[in-house]
């Protein structure tokens, strides 16, 4: 048995991981989520703003990270729409512009069909320049975004009236997969203008580096898919869909927690098994050496 475990093919582990992830997708697990303080903070930051507040959502990721970030982006946009906020879409990552537009089509116009482009929301799109985009937009938004994605000069867009710079926003949300993203928002927006409200949703890889900014610089954060699942729980409970049922788009984060559970259990089991095999090997070697 020991020799079998020693010679186990890595492809067997890949297969087990594939099954551990696939089976809960085909047969979802009924999991219950208790929202964390950070997820609640994100919800409160959007919810405590009065109706019609200006909320800027920056899509700072690309399709490669969408599996992790799309669920939280969807839920944040849904909550902002349910609160009837004025929404300003922008992106520090090129493909983020397209992801924002998808959000408009799939969530905003579905659950708020009365929203009118230019009056209730605007897509500012992507501008090259990474953190400099934030830096310039805090001085003069028009200088950084002279037109929206449709090429309309922003001074002709009604919702942009009174928005001279980013500080005119009541809340900025960054959904971030790395550079430029949440960290740059903290450095060039929050820290430069203390008192501005900022929340974020990030990938697991980036989450660890952002914890030191909580709660003074970042008031709420959704870390990885777990954060998204917790946040979805709160949003679904507070804002059920038009027919009283939770909107189907709001379950992605929770659905992806089933594969997390089984995959993590498998990993922990393999780590324990690996250690057991290691110690058994060592004691067998010692016994062998003592017998000589």
């Amino acid at each position: 048995m020991l020799s079998l475990l020693e010679r186990i093919d890595r492809r067997v582990i890949f297969l087990l991981m594939g099954l551990a992830v696939s089976i809960p997708i085909l047969f979802p697990l009924p999991l219950d989520y208790k929202p964390s303080r950070l997820a609640q903070s994100v919800f409160d930051a959007i919810d405590q703003l009065p109706e019609g507040s200006r909320v800027c959502i920056s899509y700072d990721y690309d399709p490669a990270s969408a599996g992790e970030l799309q669920p939280m982006a969807t839920a944040m946009l849904y909550q902002a729409a349910m609160k009837k906020h004025k929404i300003f879409f922008m992106a520090l990552w090129g493909p983020g512009k397209t992801l924002g537009s998808e959000g408009v089509q799939q969530i905003l116009l579905k659950y708020r069909p009365e929203y009118r482009y230019g009056e209730d929301y605007v897509e500012l799109g992507y501008q090259t320049g990474n953190e400099v985009v934030i830096k310039v937009a805090t001085t003069d938004l028009k200088l950084q975004f002279p037109t929206d994605v449709k090429g309309t000069p922003i001074e002709r867009i009604p919702v942009m009236r009174g928005v001279a710079n980013l500080q005119a926003m009541d809340l900025v949300i960054s959904i971030s997969a790395g550079y430029p993203g949440s960290k740059e928002w903290v450095q060039y927006y929050v820290s430069a203008f203390p008192g501005e409200k900022f929340v974020t949703g990030t990938t697991g890889v980036q989450s660890v580096s952002l914890y030191p900014y909580i709660p003074q610089q970042i008031i709420g954060m959704l870390g990885a898919i777990k954060g998204a699942a917790e946040y979805e729980t709160i949003v679904k409970a507070r804002y059920p869909g038009p027919d009283g049922k939770p909107p189907p788009e709001l379950g992605e984060g929770q659905r992806r927690m089933g594969p997390q559970l089984s995959a993590h259990l498998l990993m922990v089991s393999l780590i324990i098994l690996g250690n057991v095999v290691f110690f058994l090997q060592r004691s067998a070697k010692r016994r062998k050496e003592a017998g000589r």
Partner: protein, 366 residues
């Protein structure tokens, strides 16, 4: 026959059988994509200045949608220019497409149609997902092909993207506003803005950077590089000092005895104590001016433990992220491609499964 060839042959045969069975058992097929086609028509009109308007107000020519209420205004008249029309195409779910099936198509109104392009797109995405995953078995030509396509497509995508998102709007537009308005940016003013000549500086720096390709003039590219390095350092220095140094010191000044509603808060106090001990011990570990012996050595050792915990947390978060990405791809295969699940109700899997079960049962009975 080599063992790997045999394994691949078995996988392909099983896969093909699975796909055929999936197609046969589902009356509505699978991985079909539909789109909503919305015809759009614009008409050019002359908008005359209203009676009593200021003398400098003139008739303005503009394009309006064919269903715009503006067309019925008395001061608006159509020009002789032919209307311009196109179709906006947006994705719709198969459920929505089936719901609209049979509805009469009215000219000028939106209608749903099967999309070959999007359906082939799903199949290509599924193929490449499986091709990349095939590397887990071993390196193979299908994986190599997928890898090469990713590299080529990415390079081309970013090249085109940089052209349209950087060169055209931020360099060509300020320098040649009239040409850019006519060719690519109709929403812009078409005239030079104040300080437009500043755009010559990035143009010059960019051309100097390209001198890197010249064997004799490569040294010229060092100057713009120096500019980039200096500028980046300047921008980052201030923000790091502000956000990561001063603000972090401020964030670390915490009460060791925390109170809540007049009572001692054990949890908060313990949390603050852990944070401060962790901060000081890790800083001690990275302080190399004193030899790590005695008390300093022991504190540094504690710092190492804190660092290990931080690395462990970072690794665990990374694992969570990677598993999420895998589960998203598997969900794509099961949902969008094979229609085995339907969490969003996008292809009414319940109905198709019931129908498929019926077909299967009748086949068995027969």
């Amino acid at each position: 026959m080599k063992q790997s060839t045999l394994v691949w042959a078995i996988i392909f045969v099983l896969g093909a059988i699975g796909l055929v069975a999936n197609g046969l058992l589902r009356p509505n097929g699978f991985s079909k994509q539909f789109v909503l086609v919305t015809p759009v028509k614009f008409i050019e009109v002359d908008v005359a200045a209203p009676i009593g308007a200021a003398p400098d107000e003139k008739t303005v020519t503009r394009w309006v949608a064919s269903d715009s209420p503006m067309l019925s205004l008395p001061n608006v008249s159509r020009t002789r220019t032919a209307p311009v029309g196109w179709s906006d195409v947006t994705e719709v779910s198969a459920t929505e497409a089936w719901r609209r099936q049979g509805a009469p198509v009215v000219a000028g109104e939106p209608y749903v149609q099967f999309s070959w392009a999007n359906t082939i797109g799903v199949w290509i995405a599924a193929f490449f997902t499986l091709a990349i995953l095939s590397f887990l078995w071993n390196d193979n030509p299908v994986y190599k092909f997928a890898e090469s396509v990713v590299v080529g497509v990415s390079a081309a995508y970013w090249m085109v993207f940089a052209f349209w998102s950087t060169l055209v709007p931020t360099l060509a537009q300020p320098l040649m506003p009239g040409l850019m308005k006519a060719w690519a940016l109709p929403g812009t003013s078409g005239t030079h803005e104040s300080m437009w000549w500043v755009a010559f500086f990035p143009l010059g720096l960019g051309l100097m950077l390209l001198m890197r390709l010249s064997p004799k003039g490569a040294w010229i590219s060092v100057w713009p590089l120096a500019f980039i390095v200096g500028l980046t350092a300047g921008i980052k220095l201030v923000s790091h000092v502000q956000a990561d140094f001063l603000a972090q010191i401020s964030n670390s000044i915490l009460p060791l005895v925390a109170m809540r509603e007049g009572a001692f808060d054990w949890g908060k106090s313990l949390g603050n104590l852990t944070l401060i001990v962790g901060l000081l011990s890790v800083l001690t570990y990275f302080f190399f001016s004193i030899e790590h012996k005695g008390v300093v050595g022991k504190v540094a050792r504690v710092g190492v433990w804190f660092l290990m915990v931080a690395f462990g947390a970072a690794f665990a978060f990374t694992v969570m992220g990677r598993i999420t990405l895998l589960s998203a791809r598997m969900q794509f295969l099961f949902d969008d491609w094979l229609w085995l699940i339907d969490p969003n109700g996008s292809h009414t899997v319940v109905a198709t499964v019931k129908a498929a079960t019926g077909v299967l049962m009748s086949a068995l009975v027969t």
